[in-house]
Symmetry: C2
Subunit: 208 residues, 2 copies
Amino acid sequence: MRYHKVPDETIRRLPVYLRGLCSFPNNGSHSISSQQLADILHVKSPQVRKDLSYFGDIGTPGVGYDIQKLTKHIRAILQLNNVHCAALVGYGNLGAALLKYTGFGTFCIEINTVFEKDPRKIGRVVRNIKIEEVSKISSLSKRGISIAILAIPAAESQDVTDKLVNAGVGGILNFTSSYLSVPANVKVINIDIGVSLACLPYYLPVGA
Amino acid sequence: MRYHKVPDETIRRLPVYLRGLCSFPNNGSHSISSQQLADILHVKSPQVRKDLSYFGDIGTPGVGYDIQKLTKHIRAILQLNNVHCAALVGYGNLGAALLKYTGFGTFCIEINTVFEKDPRKIGRVVRNIKIEEVSKISSLSKRGISIAILAIPAAESQDVTDKLVNAGVGGILNFTSSYLSVPANVKVINIDIGVSLACLPYYLPVGA
DNA sequence: GGATGTGAATCCATTCACAGCA
DNA sequence: TGCTGTGAATGGATTCACATCC
């Protein structure tokens, strides 16, 4: 394998592969082929092979990928081998739903800290987590938390982002509708629910 | 302008442009340049021009784009000129949050129907909407609803999707973690919160 | 035989550079 | 002069086709 920059799209698919591996029926075989994995996930098999090839020779020609080994390998690439704690900022409708969301556990990510601006919510305990005021964000570095989930109104998003970055946060999942300015070493992933929904009517038959 | 297939990415940016236009400070000028719009949204100006050029000559050389006209034009392209009603399927944590979400109004999309499986929730009225049982999905065509938001467990997603498609739904916003099989004339947009979050640790400094 | 890993080819999207118009 | 609209150039990602290895 030569050096190649790993495409962002490849990284985005790795968690999907991980879920595919988990859901692969244990039929006694220890290995899975790129074709089998591709079929489960509705992608193309060369895609799977190329994605995995960026990280060395993981598979065995003529056989496929050892399921256990591949699972461990992908977790290692994504740094999902040890549990990551994440801070949720904003305990509104969406924030509360995210806190209860069960889809993170598969990936060893756990929300264990919540910040809010509204004084009426501060101090409340939900799921064993005490809601703290936003000014406490600065303590994140001490607590070793480097991932944040932003679920607050757009108006305050850059302000809070600056606080997060100052506290050493390196990854932000942004549910806000605004663009966040961050230094190059901080990664932002945007989920813009409004925009996604607004695209759908375009694809409807005219007049629908 | 010659014929060109409009890239999906262009469509995805149009709602973003729309929001940018709304937030553009009214400084007396009736027009906005591709550069100004690009600056607000942190994209490149040739991108804005190319995106808009797919839909004809909307701007005026030497001047820019008439704000009112451009807004109307984008809304027309996206079919956002008349209000779209959408059905929410799944009134769990996420579903409830989405129902209260205020970010759709900007785009003239309104959730006015809710389906649930859990009998304890059926019949409850939230925000003037009576929660109905999933079997009632078949009535969507009669009600002229062609957009659905899927916020249910993955296991049931394909089943419910089939019901939606049969009821004439043409666009689905899928918060489920599974791939949905749909006919070619139905558009699915996926939001996979777990996967998005699972990507972040990869970008953190090693060991963080 | 059967599957991987990968250069080459293709496809798609972004960016550039500039002709043309107000 | 200033800004749009767009062919051409670039860059990135997917797909193909096949050499290679178990």
